[in-house]
Amino acid sequence: MSQYLYIALMFVGIYGLLSQKNILKMIISLNIMELGLNLFIISTGYIKEAKAPIILFGNEGNYVDPLPQAIVLTAIVIGLGVTAVALMLARNIYKTYGTYEIDEIRGENDD
């Protein structure tokens, strides 16, 4: 059941990307999408009644799948890198055009 919600969160982020016209809002939407994706990845490894994958003494066997967790660790840090670059770009856009609204950005001959 919660897996549906995580996929839905991913689509909330994609909806934000499609509908928002503010650069910071778009970066926030990207973050929401990545968060939904990370939650979905973890949920593919979840097993009912299983333990966290750490070997303590007298605690053997029946762990949840550790590989998705390793993948999400990598994905979170990559997300931080992308967000940092995106926000720095947003600051440069603001410096050049004086706005965060994409409708008000002129002078880059596209669309």
């Binding site: 910071l24 939904g36 966290a52 967790q69 979170i76 940092a84 926000l87």
Partner: protein, 82 residues
Amino acid sequence: MIEIIGVITGALIIVFGILAVESKKLINSVVYLSLLSLLSVLSFIIMKAPDVAITEAVIGSGLVTFLFIITLMQDKKAGDKK
């Protein structure tokens, strides 16, 4: 029991996600994103992923929120969406 908590957290995450996207003020969006991140930490714990939970707590709700806020500080008017 733990599954029910998971579903409730998931539903709250969706609500905050929509609020973060649709909120009129940028600073509110950032705060909702931070809350979203904290709730996802809870979900990670429910799904038995302590490593991910710690990492998300430090990076997702800590550092990323700070980066957003310092970007917002650049423009005093940017708090209001036109």
